[in-house]
Each structure stands twice: as structure tokens, then as C-alpha cells.
């Protein structure tokens, strides 16, 4: 039981439940099945991106370019769909993923091969990818009536009265869970982030893992490019601006240590859910809009303080008293 209570994922789950109950008292409408289903749908993209960001954070890096990558991939397929509305939607999804992956590989190569620090690389590509959207779109928007019916239909598909987006997030959760816990690749990411020197001793090729981690982050950014555009039925230069910070917050709240090598897939999802809940619940309980940003920031900070407090290390022992 004690072990259970010190489990970070459990604490996070409890916080979400308590939050849900508290919001329920203030506004009973918020905890109806349909409204909770809406929150889940609304948080799905955040969950997917947080999971892929987690892979990068595990190896002591960060990908700041995800939101720009998402927006650029989304814009490129939107433009294509206005020219070729007859193509099936799967083409667009696949293309979006490919574009995202290429953009991710570029990050990885810059960091691993050209040795540009990750923060500089992704800060640079954050601007470059966003800037390219203006270039390809001439600064114009693609409106909902310009997309083909097919393009937008998939996103509104429902199963067991839960949205396509939600089920996709569940699928990504399972895939990343297996990847990180049940493949050599995933376990090597943990060892590389946990103790890079020791990882070299056992022959792990750091550069390969950096490039692969950024490629995965790019792949899911590309996937979310399609999801975002289809869900909001609009592609513009401004979509998802600043969203990378929400994604990183979700990881940190979920207990993914920015020092690398620590964090669970479940924790990451719970972190994203908590942030999704805060974003949706604060308007529902009549908190002034002026306060919302500050309050959600404060909650994130408190979560980080709890994380660092539980991470204090032991002193080495010289003298054995017995």
C-alpha cells in the first residue's frame, strides 16, 4: 500500500479524480458522459504529441519544433487536397506522416551529426518550419469548404460513442507503451538517458538513437498535422502556435524527467489528461479568463516541485558502521 501511495502515476491519477469531483460540484454538467467524452477528444492530440515528445525527453533532449512541424505538414496536405480533392483520405494521412518524419530526421541529423545543441536546433527549426508555412500558403488560409468531404469525414467517425481521435490516442498509447517497455530500442532509450557514459560502455550508438527519437517525434507531429486540420476544418499559418510548450508541460507534469531516463508511458498520458482537464474545466467553473493562464501555470509548477522533491539522491557511504 505504501508503495502504491508513493507511486507518481497513482498520485497523478488521484489528482485528476479529485479535480473531476471538485469541478463536478461546481458545475454538474461538466461530468456528464458526453462532456467527458468531449474533453477526451479535445485532449487526444495532446496525448499523442506528449507521448512522442516523451521519447525525445527520455534521452535528455527536447523537441521544440513539434507544433511548427504539425502546422507545416497540415498546411501542405491541405493545399494538396484543394488541388486534388479526389484522392482518398489515407493518402493525405500517409503523406502528412512522411513530411513530419522528414522534418524530424532533419532535427536529428543536425543534433547527432552536425552537433548543434538540441535546444538551438529545434528552436531554429521551430521558426524555419513555421516560416515555410507562409511561403507555401502565401499567408492565406484553407477554409472548411475547400476540403473534400472525405478529408473531414474520418475525424467525425465514432465508435462506442467515443470519437475517432480518442481511439487513435489509445492506439498510439499502446504502440508507444510496447515500444518503450517491450523492445530493445525502447529500453536502450532509457539507459542512454539514465547514464550516457555507461550506455557507451555497453555499446549503444548514441547518434542512431538521437536521429530515431527525433524521427518518431516528427512522424507523430505529421500525423497530428492531419488530425488538427481535419478536426478544426481550417489550415492557417497560426494553427497550433505555442502548442509545443503545452506538450512539454504535459510530459513534465506526467513525471518525465528532463534530466533523462525517467518516466512512464502511463504517467505521460495522465499528465496530458490533467492539462486537458485544467484547460477545459477552468472555463466551465466560471473562472475569469484573465486568471486561467496563471492558474494552469501554477498547477504545472506545483506538479514539477513534487517531482523534483521525490528525486533527491542518496549520499555515498564511506564508513560502514556495524
Amino acid at each position: 500500500m505504501k508503495k502504491f501511495l508513493t507511486n507518481r502515476d497513482f498520485i497523478l491519477f488521484a489528482i485528476i479524480m479529485i479535480g473531476l469531483v471538485a469541478v463536478g460540484f461546481a458545475n454538474p454538467l461538466f461530468v456528464t458522459p458526453s462532456s467527458i467524452s468531449d474533453v477526451l477528444t479535445d485532449t487526444s492530440i495532446l496525448i499523442i504529441l506528449a507521448l512522442s515528445q516523451m521519447i525525445v525527453i527520455l534521452i535528455r533532449a527536447i523537441d521544440l519544433s513539434v507544433a511548427s512541424n504539425l502546422a507545416l505538414s497540415g498546411m501542405l496536405i491541405s493545399l494538396l487536397s484543394t488541388v486534388h480533392p479526389e484522392l482518398p483520405v489515407y493518402y493525405f494521412i500517409a503523406l502528412s506522416c512522411v513530411i513530419g518524419t522528414v522534418l524530424g530526421v532533419l532535427n536529428g541529423v543536425s543534433i547527432a551529426i552536425l552537433k548543434v545543441p538540441f535546444i538551438v536546433t529545434t528552436l531554429g527549426t521551430l521558426s524555419i518550419y513555421r516560416g515555410l508555412i507562409y511561403f507555401v500558403s502565401d499567408g492565406k488560409q484553407v477554409y472548411s469548404n475547400e476540403f473534400s468531404k472525405d478529408f473531414l469525414a474520418l475525424i467525425h467517425y465514432k465508435f462506442l460513442s467515443l470519437s475517432f481521435l480518442f481511439w487513435l490516442a489509445v492506439a498510439v498509447f499502446i504502440i508507444i507503451y510496447i515500444l518503450l517497455n517491450h523492445t530493445r530500442f525502447g529500453r536502450n532509450l532509457y539507459s542512454l538517458g539514465g547514464n550516457p557514459d555507461a550506455a557507451k560502455y555497453i555499446g549503444i550508438n548514441e547518434n542512431k538513437y538521437i536521429i530515431l527519437a527525433y524521427s518518431i517525434s516528427g512522424f507523430f507531429a505529421g500525423l497530428c498535422g492531419y488530425l488538427w486540420v481535419a478536426r478544426y476544418s481550417v489550415a492557417s499559418t497560426q494553427i497550433a502556435i505555442g502548442f509545443e510548450l503545452t506538450v512539454i508541460s504535459a510530459c513534465v507534469v506526467g513525471g518525465i524527467s528532463v534530466m533523462g531516463g525517467v518516466g512512464t508511458v502511463l504517467g505521460c498520458v495522465l499528465g496530458a489528461l490533467l492539462i486537458g482537464l485544467i484547460r477545459n474545466a477552468l472555463p466551465a467553473v466560471d473562472i475569469s479568463q484573465f486568471w486561467q493562464l496563471a492558474i494552469s501555470g501554477a498547477i504545472i509548477l506545483i506538479a514539477i516541485i513534487i517531482n523534483t522533491k521525490t528525486e533527491q539522491r542518496k549520499e555515498k557511504t564511506i564508513m560502514v558502521e556495524n
Binding site: R184, R187, I204, M319, N322
Partner: protein
């Protein structure tokens, strides 16, 4: 012959770490690798692990010549090292640390956790170790960590297991358990290279021995042909071939006393005094608690019990600035990390600790700073081309002088030097020594931690010998022999 090293040499920036060393490891043997700190043992081990490449010489495994160009190759050749410093993954479980880099997978290429866990459990049971496979490494004791590392080499099916001071911080019971494991390894047809400073244990466990000194092979034989005293002579028996320019100063009255210092798991019953114009040495193995005591005196960490008396008054040091204000300064062993800021200029580094004295109303007086810096440069003979030169561009010796200059600027009365000549070339070394002589001549008192016996014998008036967090004895250097000091420091008497 399982392993044979022929004529291995390795230089680091002109310092000879190994010179034409031969080493032979027989099948089925536990081979002790002996020598003082800095004798070249670690370099030899790192060459075997593929971390360093030898400058010359050859490595033969089972009579075949091999090139070990990186750690992965060393592992695949069946060489596995249990390092002193941790190469484990604190946040991962025991099972995973044992299988790391070598995860077992099912036919669908997913990791087979059940199989790995049951193998781990079986292995730990064979070793009679009371460790759960799914415990995290950070929750284990040091002895348990050693066992996990040993298990790792067993899983990798290592032929040669290198153990670098495996018993350094274990209790007697844990040590006995470890011996059983080592003897079991031998029965399984493996050879072990055993590095230890404890000669009793070497005599008990090992079959063969090799002694290195100053990077040279001194003696290699079977253990029954020697005894402890001979080994000590082999290890320590060098002539003091450096000149230690110690001025003849008259030592005056006691000015500084440490009383009953105690910190849990670090050190206990620490009592010593320091007299004016004296150089007091602290000798002991790496990790015997010397640095930890000095950090507590300087206020970096807090001792659980104990007082410091300075000039007949009890003083309270809660943080480093208290110590500096009293005139006590500490020069860290890790000068690069803790002593200086490489990206700041030499002048700024020298003046870093006396900003208050060099400023008026919080505005820095550059003229005063330059005055102090040039006085220090002259005194210490720091080779610097211009004042705004970055400290990191200086040589190791000049960096060390810059750090010393920084602390001397505070006009201290008690100077604590932690390995002041570690990793600097011979000429800078003697410059530092010369300078220490001058300082005591001017009335300063010095505490010097050193792992180099000649330095202790050449520079100090008295030496405090430490072993595992305890003071074994305080000797007058004039009447002490190097054998006696080595004996005390390895817990032999």
C-alpha cells in the same frame, strides 16, 4: 594462458601512465593487480575494457592477438569489468541492469521480461544474494550493486572478470559473501583480475599477483612466493627522487583544532590540530573520507557532531563564506568544476572571492582588481599573456596557480589543499611545492590532502593517516617510514 599483455605503453600528454608493462593472466586464476594510487592499474584496466588504446604493445587472448578498439568489442571478447565508479543505471531494475544491451527477446522480437526475470532470480539464488529482480538499483546497498555487476558479467558469459576494489566499502559479512562468489567464479573456469589495497584479502583470495609502480612492472609471481611485507616494499619502495624545497621554518603554537568531528556514514572521531607555519598531510586511499572532512570544515556540508577551534576560540562555520571570513580556505580537488570558471578571464577568476574588498558602493574598482591580479601573477609566476585571457586556455599548472591565487587573495591563515598537484606536470608540481614552502615561511598553516606518498614525505611535518573514515594515526614524518604509512592506510595495522 588466458590473457597476455606484451610491452604495453600509454602516455597522456607526455605523462607516462604505463611503460612497457607485461601482464599474464592464467586460466582458472585469481590475479591480484597491486600498486599505489597512480601506479597505472586503472589505465591497464581501461585498456582491457577498450576505453583507452595503448600507444604500443599487444594484447593476446587465448593466444590470439586482439585489438580492443571499443567497449563493445571488449564485452564480446568475454572481458567484463566491475568498476569502482558506477556504470549502472540507477533508475532501472536489477533485471534490466543485468541484461542491459543484451535483452532477451521472444520470437516476435518483443522483450521477454518473464524469462529475463526468472533467469535473474535463478542467478541471484545461485549467488545466494538476497536481492529482488524488480528492485531499482538506486535502492540497493553498495554490496548489492557489486553483486548485480557480477551477475551482469555472468550473463554476458564473461571469461575474464575484472574487479576494481570490490570490497572497498563493504562490511566484513558482505566481504565474505563476495569471496564465496569469487571462488565460485573460479570453479566455473573463469579468470579474475582482482584490484585491492587490502593485502590480507589479497593473500587470502588470490593465486598470482602483479605489482605496478609509476606505470612500470615491478614484480609478478605466484602469491605463495611472497608475503605482505614484501608486497608493501614492492608497492611503496621507491626513492624520493623529486626535490622538495621545503624551507626550514620554526613551527609555532597550535592555532587550529578539530574536535570530535562525526558525520554519519562518512567519518568518525576526527581529532587533530594544526600549528602555525606547519604543513599537515592527510594520506589515505581514494574514498577514505579525507575530502569529506575538509568539506565539513569549510562549511560545504554539515558534520553531525564536532567543534572547530581557531586561535583559542570556538568558531561556527555554517557556510563557506564563514570560513573565508575567519581566514580558512579550501582548494578543491576538482579545480575545473569547483575552483574556477573557465569562461571567465584570469583576472576575474583571481578576484572572484574578494569582490567586496575591490568595490565601492557595489561598483567594481578595476584598478584594484588589476593591482591584486598582477601581485598574484608575480608571486605565483602565472603564465598569462593578457588579463582578459580566458582561464580555460591556460595549461593545467597555470589553472591550478590561478585557483591558488584566487584563494590567496582572501589573505587566509589556514589553507586546505586537496590534491594540489593532481594531474599537473612535474615542473608545475615543483612550482606548487616551492610555493607552499614560501607560504608557511610567511606564517601560513597548510593542510594538504595527497595520495602521493613522496609528496607527503617531502612536504609535510606531520601526516594524518586515514582509513575508511577513521584516523588511524598521526605520525611525525621525520620518524615515519613509507611502509608504515602504506600499512596504516590499507588497514593492515
Amino acid at each position: 594462458m588466458k590473457l597476455e599483455l606484451k610491452n604495453i605503453s600509454k602516455n597522456f600528454h607526455g605523462v607516462k601512465a604505463l611503460q612497457n608493462v607485461d601482464f599474464q593472466l592464467k586460466d582458472n586464476s585469481i590475479h591480484a593487480l597491486l600498486g599505489e594510487n597512480g601506479a597505472g592499474k586503472s589505465t591497464l584496466v581501461k585498456i582491457l575494457c577498450g576505453v583507452y588504446q595503448p600507444d604500443s604493445g599487444s594484447i593476446h587472448l587465448n593466444n590470439q592477438e586482439q585489438t580492443i578498439s571499443d567497449p563493445a568489442i571488449s564485452l564480446s571478447l568475454g572481458i567484463s569489468a566491475i568498476h569502482q565508479e558506477s556504470v549502472m543505471f540507477d533508475e532501472l531494475t536489477v533485471t534490466e541492469n543485468i541484461f542491459i544491451g543484451n535483452h532477451l527477446t521472444k520470437s516476435n522480437r518483443l522483450i521477454d521480461w518473464t524469462l529475463m526475470e526468472s533467469k535473474t532470480k535463478q542467478l541471484l539464488e545461485e549467488l545466494e544474494a538476497n536481492i529482488e529482480p524488480n528492485e531499482k538499483i538506486k535502492d540497493l546497498s553498495i554490496a548489492q550493486r557489486h553483486i548485480v555487476q557480477i551477475s551482469r558479467s555472468l550473463i554476458h558469459d564473461a571469461d575474464i572478470v575484472i574487479m576494481d576494489e570490490p570490497t572497498a566499502s563493504l562490511s566484513q559479512k558482505e566481504i565474505n559473501e563476495l569471496y564465496t562468489i569469487i571462488r565460485n567464479l573460479k570453479k566455473q573456469n573463469k579468470s579474475i583480475i582482482f584490484i585491492s589495497h587490502k593485502l590480507d584479502e589479497v593473500m587470502e583470495v588470490c593465486d598470482d599477483f602483479t605489482v605496478l609502480r609509476d606505470g612500470e612492472l615491478i614484480k609478478s609471481d605466484i602469491i605463495t612466493n611472497t608475503d605482505k611485507d614484501q608486497l608493501i616494499t614492492h608497492m611503496a619502495g621507491r626513492e624520493v627522487n623529486q626535490i622538495f624545497p621545503k624551507n626550514n621554518v620554526t613551527i609555532e603554537n597550535e592555532i587550529f583544532q578539530v574536535r570530535d568531528f562525526y558525520k554519519k556514514t562518512q567519518f568518525k572521531d576526527i581529532n587533530f590540530n594544526l600549528r602555525k607555519k606547519e604543513i599537515l598531510g592527510f594520506y589515505g586511499l581514494v574514498g577514505s573520507g579525507r575530502t569529506e572532512i575538509m568539506k565539513s570544515i569549510f562549511g560545504i556540508t554539515k558534520p553531525d557532531e564536532g567543534d572547530i577551534h581557531f586561535k583559542d576560540q570556538k568558531i561556527n562555520i555554517a557556510k563557506p563564506s564563514d570560513a573565508i571570513n575567519q581566514g580558512i580556505v579550501y582548494l578543491s580537488e576538482e579545480r575545473q568544476q569547483l575552483g574556477m570558471t573557465g569562461l571567465m578571464s584570469v583576472k576575474d577568476n583571481i578576484n572572484m572571492a574578494i569582490m567586496e574588498r575591490n568595490s565601492q558602493f557595489y561598483i567594481m574598482d578595476t584598478l584594484k582588481e588589476i593591482k591584486n591580479a598582477s601581485a598574484m601573477q608575480e608571486k605565483l609566476n602565472i603564465k598569462v599573456s593578457y588579463w582578459s585571457q580566458l582561464t580555460q586556455s591556460l595549461s593545467g599548472g597555470n589553472q591550478q596557480k590561478t585557483v591558488i591565487a584566487k584563494w590567496l587573495s582572501t589573505k587566509p591563515e589556514v589553507l586546505i589543499l586537496d590534491e594540489p598537484t593532481k594531474g599537473i606536470d612535474v615542473r608545475s608540481k615543483s612550482a606548487v611545492h616551492e610555493f607552499m614552502g614560501e607560504l608557511v615561511g610567511e606564517g601560513m598553516s597548510i593542510i594538504m590532502i595527497s595520495s602521493e606518498l613522496p609528496e607527503i614525505l617531502g612536504m609535510c611535518d606531520r601526516v594524518v593517516v586515514m582509513y575508511k573514515g577513521l584516523i588511524k594515526e598521526i605520525l611525525n614524518v621525520k620518524n615515519a617510514s613509507s611502509e608504515q604509512i602504506v600499512k596504516l592506510a590499507s588497514g593492515e595495522s
